[in-house]
Subunit: 245 residues, 4 copies
């Protein structure tokens, strides 16, 4: 039987504390809304930028199976040491779910190796997310498409490595498309980028959005294996016959 | 008709200047051997670590379609500014061919986002490279497999992102396997990692090895397109009907 | 230097001979329009359903590097023997470009192994094709997006295997998205599916469409290698020490 | 909580009834050995070639979440109608695990669309399977590599579509390599090909082999979604403004 998955939801928690309209939408922060909305056998904690070590101490990360990340205006305030710590943990097996503007989070860019740039426009237009990988566990329980009445637009070209799977592809009212649900395997860890979630809209109260994130947590939870070992010369497993000179 | 491809071969050029047995194998450096052995409509120059800006000035890179890279003991001596410059050029379209121990080159690790670690062993064992993507242009003219009588072993797990194509898979006498020819698309650029090429062996005099690198240069040459443009809000291409609140 | 690529353009050639509005758009057939519009070092011939062996004799296929296919209402009239012949040639290295309604062509379905179903709607709506693989040679010379003022809609979920690369993703006025330019490697051959091309619209007179098909011909041309050999037991390349019982 | 997974293990069951040495290894058939060795919350039944409808009636398939398949000498005796039935169910969501010589099973070839050919040799040599996708759930609990003392060799090039993930890569004593654990997504279903399992060796009594198959059952179990709907024209979700002529 699968153990309880330990989830840490990280939020820079800046818009909610400075903009009244965001505060009204997310009185407990977006991390609070997500924590309240996830459905599954999860043990959830939250962490924010202003906490010591951004709430992501070695201990917290060691006890985290899947880390959810939301950042936007304060990417630069995240310390490089914490970024390195999180990235290392992902390569060792911790799942990472990067939400919306976290495409530009230091840790996501570091793990992708590309600019992670994209086109954008915030006019509150309609987004329709189509399932383009119906056999994928992140699509479980999701209809062929679902709509968000108002969202910021993110458009292609999205400068990421070719995802291992593209679970959702978005249609935008203003004429753009986007790979909105992207899976990556890195080291012993898994990464899911999920596009929706501009702070001005009630996206993290949407049933389908919360279901996708819940599914993604299950998908991204670590497989149980011994740690990867590297960095030293290994003996031969079979006899080597020919010597060079 | 395709234009001449401008190739820059970069080598840290350290072993050849310090170890007599390497110098004997590669009197002109490994970069010299590769430059002499490439076959195609190429305009070739070379660059080395000790040159100003490591020989990779803005001008040189602007005039480079495909950069070949060999580094090993001096990865740390490569300046971060040059690494950033090279990585940017790759995302803008310049091809990159990373050879052998360059799996640990700063620029390769930066573009991959993973540790790029692997198992290794230098006992001069036999390597046999099998073609596992026979429709790929990098496999053109290559038999179903070819052998290198003596090579350093690199073994799985190789901590890279899932390659977009795996053109070669190696069998090693000592009992290991390795994804030896790996293609990646990053931004507007293409990257090929090719495993063989330990400095102690005459690998860069091997016909098949040189043919693979020549094919890879053609494959990695930039497609001609306008530069990617990012980083600013874009207007809607279609009317947006519903306003939020 | 690359040799001239021998292209055969196959068309069921039914709509053009039965519907006046299609005949007006394509007086030489869609195959004729494509033949006239391709740009490159190509030796082009055409073939149609009504010819003996549908114009695809062993000799013709043996002299074909890349086969372009357009079919729609007469998929069932294509003989299974010819389908098998074409599929075999693809696995042996011949490129295949399947256009528009050829997603349902017997040979495409056979090579995909899936239903190749999709959603569709013919209301002559606007299609906008976004480049989602800017480093791919099929995107050479193509702007970040291009539009077709009127097209039939094809929408996701498109029941194909995950493409090896998705070069174009379409936005449709009526609210759908589609993976419109899909690359597949099969055996020693390459396959490109390109979505646009409903017979009622002047799609095959569009500059960007013709450029994409021209690029795809170059991409799909066979690499020069010895034929794949299978189906017989092979001797060991290395000594086998332990015998079973 | 995940429901019990309903597994059907299909075996042609020919070698075990005709060859004493195979019968000795697998007195209950290979299907029996696998049924006894799977570990998980599974409801298992078996089916064999000689049963009516090969034991794969509509009812049985409707009640099957994951089908395991072993065939070799009697591929041709499997009726095309049953093959079509199984393939359809896979596209609708049923998982399929194809073992060893089932690379040539009609249903596997149909779903792959390629020849599924490979090199082979039966000299009972050593096989060592390396994990090349350590974050994949099928690798759970598996060490970095495991060995089978005696197996038939299958070697590259293996003529399959590029797998969506390659979980294992095999080293063979006789000098070959092979992609031994291959994942494919097709329609709403998932397919896993797993190489080991020649009838002459005790492979299906091996702990790691049984663990891999158990993991694969969990991975291949269907996601719960409404069935894919195709084949009819769909209305526009958004207004279409411009009419063609």
């Amino acid at each position: 039987m699968k153990p309880t998955i330990r989830v840490t939801i990280w939020n820079e928690y800046r818009h909610e504390t400075t903009k009244p309209n965001v505060q009204e939408l997310y009185p407990q922060g977006m991390h609070g809304a997500i924590a309240a909305g996830l459905i599954g056998d999860f043990a959830i904690r939250t962490a924010t930028l202003e906490e010591p070590e951004h709430g992501l101490s070695e201990v917290v990360l060691a006890e985290t199976d899947v880390l959810i990340w939301w950042g936007h205006v304060a990417h630069k305030e995240v310390s490089d040491a914490i970024v390195d710590r999180v990235a290392s943990r992902v390569l060792q097996g911790m799942g990472l779910i990067a939400l919306h503007s976290s495409h530009y989070a230091k840790v996501f860019r570091k793990l992708m190796g590309t600019s992670c740039s994209l086109l954008y426009r915030d006019e509150g237009e309609k987004e329709r997310l189509w399932v383009t990988a119906p056999s994928h566990p992140i699509a479980e329980g999701i209809p062929p498409y679902f709509e968000l009445a108002h969202e910021e637009m993110y458009g292609e070209f999205f400068d990421i490595p070719s995802p291992d799977e593209v679970v959702f592809t978005s249609w935008f009212e203003g004429g753009n498309v986007f790979r909105s649900g992207c899976c990556f395997h890195r080291g012993q860890g898994k990464i899911f980028y999920f596009r929706p979630g501009h702070e001005l809209y009630p996206t993290y109260h949407d049933t389908n959005v919360l279901r996708v994130i819940s599914n993604a947590v299950r998908w991204a939870a670590p497989v149980q294996r011994e740690p990867l070992r590297f960095g030293k010369s290994v003996p031969a497993l079979e006899p080597i016959r020919a010597m060079y000179k």
